[in-house]
Every structure is written in C-alpha cells, then in structure tokens.
C-alpha cells in the first residue's frame, strides 16, 4: 500500500463509480469523483468527494461510462485537458473498444481499457485491454495500481465485451430467452443454475444486481460489432430494459 495517500479520480456511470470507489476506499485510496447524471440514484458516502474536474496531481484517472459513447467522449476530453500528459487514463472498454476511444484523444499512448462492469469491477481480477497505441509503461502503471488494490490482472485483446462481461451477458440473455418462452419461473432458473452447475449466483438475480439496461448495452454493442444473430437480445430483456422493470426474485 502507498505510504502517502493515493488519490484517484473517477468519472462515469453511477453504479460503476460507486463500486469502484468502495473498492478503493477499502484500500485507503482517496476518491474524487464526478457522475454522468446529476441526480444520482442514492447519496454516496461522505468519503466520496465530488469534484467537477480531476486535480492535476491525481495518480490515476478512471473513466467508467458504458451507457453512452457521446458522454464517454466528453469525459475523456475533460480528463485529457485537466491532467498532465503522462498520467494514465484507465477507461472501461466494454461497450466501446479502447482503440476507438483512442481516436478521440490527442495522446492515446496513456489510455488503456479495463473491464468496468457492475458486480465484476470489485472482484479479485480486472481485465486490461491495451490499444495498438498504448505504451508498455501505461500497462505497467495500470497493473501496479490494481495490485495495490489487491487485485490480479489479465491482459486481453481489445474486443467489445472483453471476456467476463461478454460471457456473463450472454448467460443472462439465454436465461431471459428461457423466461420469455415460459419454460420455468425466474426463481427456478436461478436455483437450477446454482445447484445444477454451481454458479455463484442465478442469472436472473445477477441481472437484477447489474441492472438490465447495463446488460442490454453490452449485448447491443456485441451485436453491432459481430453482426451475428447469436447476439440478438431477447425481446423480453429489451422490453424490461426500456421499461426499467425487473422481477423481484
């Protein structure tokens, strides 16, 4: 752990900022943040300090927007103009590849993608995806940062959905297809996957914690990227996301 307290600047979607921030706080990293939407779902704890732009001495800045690429672009521009040229920018690259994001920046060698996704970002490992421009030093700094948080890293290729968010969203999509076809109840689907194949959580309850809209965003990006029918979103999932409704299991 660093002796002088490290500061991190988080900008992006509420759920991810909250989850990432809690993880940093647990390791005594100071959290400064800015949310995409002014009216956050619930108040964040007092150790989250709101700040409209990053301090010049922030050791690392993290962009955590999956929901809207226009907003993400704006956020990255704000980061780029507020921090020194060498400060690493970690950016969620689940719905937009880091390579695409790097075309938005002047100095893209300090930009690197991470698997920022609700319920996963606070787990024991973070995926890191460099773009073709990312400098080795940026990857090293990003990895070291995750090590100080007690996490492992895995370097993966820059691809929509990365590894875990892609597998997880496809599992949820399949479960919701099954629900739509009315083959079993949401509770029985969750029970079956936990007892029959030892999943850590049922896919329906998991989707509930992630937020259906966040699942849809990844699937939509995958379909846009790969153009395969296999990535078609279950119509029921789509309706649930649009109507902001879900089962209370």
């Amino acid at each position: 752990m660093p002796s002088s307290r490290q500061s991190i600047y988080l900008i992006g979607d509420f759920m991810l900022v909250e989850e990432f921030g809690e993880m940093c706080h647990a390791k005594d990293v100071r959290i400064l943040y800015r949310l995409n939407s002014k009216n956050s779902q619930k108040p964040l704890p007092a150790y989250f300090k709101q700040q409209s732009s990053p301090p010049r001495n922030a050791s690392i800045v993290v962009e955590l927007t999956n929901s809207d690429s226009t907003v993400k672009k704006k956020n990255l521009h704000l980061l780029e103009k507020s921090i020194p040229r060498t400060t690493p920018i970690l950016s969620s690259s689940v719905t937009t590849t880091v390579t695409e994001q790097s075309t938005w920046l002047k100095h893209s060698d300090r930009l690197v993608g991470i698997s920022g996704f609700p319920t996963l970002i606070s787990q024991k490992l973070c995926e890191i995806a460099p773009s073709i421009h990312t400098k080795r030093e940026t990857i090293t700094k990003a990895s070291e940062f995750f090590f100080t948080l007690g996490k492992q890293v895995a370097i993966v290729q820059d691809r929509i959905g990365m590894v875990m968010p892609r597998i997880l969203c496809m599992l949820i999509n399949e479960a919701v297809f099954a629900l739509m076809e009315n083959i079993a109840s949401p509770r029985d689907i969750d029970t079956a996957m936990k007892l029959g194949t030892n999943y850590p959580s049922g896919p329906i309850e998991w989707a509930d914690r992630i937020g259906v809209k966040n699942v849809c965003d990844v699937l939509m990006a995958l379909q846009g990227d790969l153009h395969e029918e296999r990535y078609r979103i279950s119509p029921l999932l789509q309706v649930m996301a649009t109507g902001q409704q879900w089962w209370h299991t």
Partner: protein, 283 residues
Amino acid sequence: MKTIGIVGAGIMGRGIAYLAALSGFDILLHDLSEDILKQAMQRISSDLRKGVEKGKITSQQASEVSSKLHPRTSLDDFKECEIVIEAIIESLEIKKETFKKLDEMCPPQTILATNTSSLSVTSIASSVGEPTRVVGMHFFNPPYVMKLVEVVHGHQTSERTLQRTVELARQLGRTPVVVKDTPGFIVNRIARPFYGEALRLLGEGVASVEDIDRIVKLEGGFTMGPFELMDLIGTDVNLAVTKSIYERTFGEPRYRPHIIQQTMVDAGLWGRKTKRGFYTYDS
C-alpha cells in the same frame, strides 16, 4: 410412496437407487442381465462402505440400505411401484420400448419417469397409452451429492403426475425445479453460452485458455473456468450436448457448436478421462 422402481443400473440408476434407499424407500432395480445387476449391487456396497468410512452415513444406515435394494431381471414386480424411474441408455427407440413394457405392466396410477438428459419427454410419453402419467425426473451426477432435480413437464403430463414427482424429489432430500419439456431443460440449455462464448473468445484470440479460466474464476466468481469444466465433463460429452440442443432447435445460432470442440474430439483430447484435453493431467 413406499416402493420405487428403477430401470437401468448404470451410473445414474445406481446413484438414484442409493439415494432413494437411503431416504427409506424400497427399491426394485432392473437391468438387462443378472451379471450387470450383480456388478451394480457390488458398486453400491462399495459406495456404502466408503460412505461409512468417511462418516457420511452410519453402518446401521448402510445395512438398512442394503436390505432395501431388490435386484430384478424381470419387470413383473414393477406393478407394485407407485413410481418407476427409467435410467437406461440414451436412445429414443429403446426408451420408447421400455415405456411400452412399463405401460403394460404397471397400473394406471403408477407414475412413469425418465431421467433422460437430452431426449424429448413428450416423445417418450407418446409410446404410453396414457401419456399424462409420464414425466421427466432429471437427476444430476452423482444423484446423492447433487441437490437439483429438474422435474420435466411433458406436453401431456398431468398436474397430479407433476405434483407427485415434485413431492418425491423433496422426500429424497432434493430441490426440485419444474421445467417445460424443451431441449436442454434449464441447466444444460442456459449453460451453453458459458462454453460457447469462451470457445469463441479463444477462437478470436481474445485470451488464452488459462487466462479465460482465471478471469471467469477470479472476476466472475465461478468455482471452475469453462475449459476446466469442459475437461471434467468430457469435451466429447459437451459437444454431444451442444449438438443435440442445436439440432433439436433446428439450428438456432446461439447453440451452434464451435470448430475447436470438434477438433478436440477428433484429436481424442476428451478431457480428464483421456488425461488430455484443454489441459494435461498427470497420473
């Protein structure tokens, strides 16, 4: 219910017999020959001995279980059973034949259940005069360890049959879930993308076998990674399940097998049972 009939004394039939006898039921266990039945009884005895050694069951329980198991080379006595669970070879033709025989043998109130993993319960039921009494009872291997039972609602299964089967699963200490008769039921179907996406990620060169497994375990919180699990299940079995669901849904793209699976099977890399699969296993 007091007496349960089990047809097929292979891996699953034996396991279900063990579980049901341990839960206090009398069991009639049928297979093709005296020899097969003798072997099955020996296996169960050795399982019981191991159970006692590991302190999972008492020696009293073990001897009770032994006294409750009755091997039978004919189906004649199966008329006493309130439920018969079929766990024979996974062939639609042979299962239909067996159900026809059971239909003739057992009184109308006897429930006829199949443990099939991949066949249509509805199709098996079509060989029976009164298909309302046919149901799926899908146990997981090994049945006395795995808590789940998928109770499969065939197209014509009656509510009574379904409810009695759910009740029986509970009496066996299992957790029943009810599912419509559709390819893969719940578990085998919803698990498809766990393997399918992992194979595509590997095929696209996004990450290695080892890294994907590490990511799924540490970032996803799963007990096993997809490649470790395919090795455990057998890459051949996993491909067969995928193919079966793909074919039964007339080629739904979400279930399309991946060429890597076929290559592994062709190469004889079937996983742990051949000591080589996505990983190599010594000893």
